[in-house]
């Protein structure tokens, strides 16, 4: 016992404090209270609408009246719906093509704008113009540009003697898809270009100087220095770009309303048409909910694929 008494010090008397006092003193609780408003806002404005939308997709709710639970019926109808699958195809095509081209053009512009050039500030402002024009305005402008009767492109080519009749830009499915993708690219490039430019300006010039002294070629400088250091910002910008493109609505609605014969319907526009215009909220919600897995996959690819630390550190991928 004596040995035990020597090796185990007598317990120190801890002054008893009330639970409230302990809570007040706890840093964890302080953090909780600070976080609570944010959590409430996120729950109210982000989680609730999402969960409500998912719930609606399992009901036969219509505009103006609550529905009853019908299980997977809305999804079963969509599974067998050619227009829905066409909208899925269109959405994927639109997102992939537009995102890839926007990235390529945006990166090229960013590299260009990062060089010393005359009137740099003015050129940068001009590049931003498509982004600051309201989407609907630019969509209406493109609708005019691609109009079946009054297209400036058709008019010019006709007067140059290149074509005999007007080009049916928005009346032919493949052409209409190309037109809406072009409009999206035009609008989205500045966001990518300016964001990547911001990233490029964080790269230390000394790295380029050292590489140049070592005799590195332009491509080696780009692939070994610029790209690895830019990867984190590419991950962020492409994640947002994919999300914005995948959920695009205004451009399509103002230009084609999903036509011709649903050839440019995206999941977002079809969801609006079925849910709001047709009044079948449940079905519209099911289409919107069906977008979630695609969005998660898109985020997963761009985020986790590009965020791997080994790659960022310039090491080979595991």
């Amino acid at each position: 016992m004596a040995h035990t008494a020597l090796t185990q010090p007598a317990p120190v008397a801890v002054p008893t404090r009330s639970a409230w006092a302990r809570l007040r003193a706890s840093r964890g609780w302080a953090g909780f209270w600070f976080m609570l408003p944010t959590a409430l806002i996120l729950g109210l404005f982000l989680a609730y609408p999402l969960l409500k939308g998912i719930w609606l997709s399992f009901t036969n709710a219509r505009i103006g009246r609550d529905g009853v639970f019908i299980g997977l019926e809305n999804y079963a109808w969509l599974w067998d719906d050619d227009v829905f699958w066409l909208s899925v195809f269109n959405t994927c095509l639109y997102t992939v093509v537009a995102s890839v081209v926007k990235f390529a053009v945006g990166l090229y512009l960013a590299l260009l704008l990062n060089k010393n050039m005359p009137f740099k500030a003015i050129v940068r402002s001009i590049v931003l113009i498509p982004f600051v024009v309201p989407t609907v305005l630019s969509a209406i402008a493109f609708w005019w540009i691609f109009d079946s009767q009054f297209s400036i492109i058709s008019w010019s080519l006709r007067h140059l003697g290149v074509i005999d009749g007007n080009i049916d830009f928005l009346g032919e499915p493949a052409m209409a898809r190309a037109c809406v993708i072009f409009a999206n690219i035009w609008r989205g490039v500045p966001f990518i270009a300016i964001t990547l430019l911001a990233g490029l300006q964080t790269v230390s010039p000394s790295l380029y100087e050292a590489a140049t002294l070592d005799g590195a070629s332009n491509w080696q400088i780009f692939s070994r220095i610029t790209l690895p250091l830019l990867t984190p910002i590419i991950a962020v910008v492409m994640t947002f770009s994919v999300l914005f493109t995948f959920t695009d609505f205004q451009l399509i609605w103002a230009m084609t309303r999903g036509g011709p014969v649903n050839a440019t319907h995206l999941m977002a526009t079809l969801s609006y048409q079925r849910g709001i215009l047709s009044g079948t909220l449940g079905e519209g919600a099911a289409i919107a909910t069906a977008m979630v897995p695609f969005l998660l996959a898109a985020i997963g690819i761009s985020w986790f694929g590009l965020q791997r630390r080994a790659w960022q550190a310039g090491e080979s991928d595991r």
Partner: protein, 436 residues
Amino acid sequence: MSGLDRRSLLTGAAAAGLAVGGDLLGFAKAWAQTAEWKPEPGASLSLLRWKRFVPSEEEAFLKMVDAFTQATGVKITVSNESYDDIQPKASVAANTGQGPDMVWGLFSFPALFPDKCVPLGDVAASLAKKYGPWFPSAEAYGKVKGNWIAIPVSFNGGYPNYRISAMKKAGFDKFPTDTAGFLELCRGLKKNNTPAGFALGHATGDGNTWCHWALWSHGGNLVDANEKIVINSPETAKALEYVKSLYETFVPGTVSWNDSSNNKAFLAGDLYLTNNGISIYAAAKKDNPKLAEDMDHAVWPVGPVGKPTEFQLAYPILAFKYSKAPNACKAFIAFMMEASNYNPWLEAAQGYLCEPLSNYPKNPIWTSDPKNAVFAEAGRRSLAAGGLAPVSERIAAVLADFVVVDMFASHCTGREDVKGAIKNAERAATRIFRNT
């Protein structure tokens, strides 16, 4: 509805006299004294309406609103939206219980949410007593399951607009009255490089109206009177073949047209026959009198069914149950439909709008210019959305989903053969009409 006594009759007569004399405010004040619906004290209303196509119509409408406000003290805020934006905004208002007190929109939109609409049977009965009966199509738009949920304020006649010289050059002295002759005319126009063109894109007004005419004129229907889907029929197949033949004569690009495309093309001289309201003519009279002189309008040709199968735009107005002033809404709707108000407003619309009731006093707008006369018949000749079927939220969904338009467009563009186009429409209708 309150009974009519000698005093109210005298006041009513005085009010009518004032209106005839052009004293709108005097009429409004006299009308307000005997109005069947007394606005709630301190009431103020908001009204969402379709954006005008003819500026003078809006001016006359706002004068009417102003007179009502001065006579009753009820302030009315009027906001405008394009055709396509009325329905979604009304839907959101219906679902959230917040928004405009009254919405004045297109086709069968009140049928999307009948439970949210103030019953207007008393207003409809009062108007029918004065100016009735309602045209069958008007009644169909105003009622859901036998209850009045909206008042069909007016129709807009969407009729063939054509260039007289081009028609004559194509070998026709008069506009053809049957579908076979109509096709021949379109072929002649195409041959002379003065083509016709009808919207086959997602055009809410023009696309839906002429495509339904084409379907119904051949005896085809999406659903029958019992809402049984009957689109898969030989009549539909004939309608598809007919429209494809028509499409081959069209100016290129009609599958991408919206509701304004044909107006622009016609006024620019690229198009010689299309379906539209009187707005092309009104614009031409103002800006291009030569073109206006060379254009005229005709009723829709009759198809193999042997009777008119027109589908005209209707403009129903509703009041939402969440409104704090339902009586003020009723009073305003009744006020705007009073012939003394309605007729000057109709005249200002230059023929763009026409009456839903059969016994309104004759409006000079229909006789002042013979080219206007066709449009006066829209309410009388039109079938309601759905054709044989009653107007319902499902029929509203059929229009919003462009089921019939897409059926024709998919066949015309070669994307589907007759069977495929019908199958897709049948499937879409089954989805919309399923019992959930």
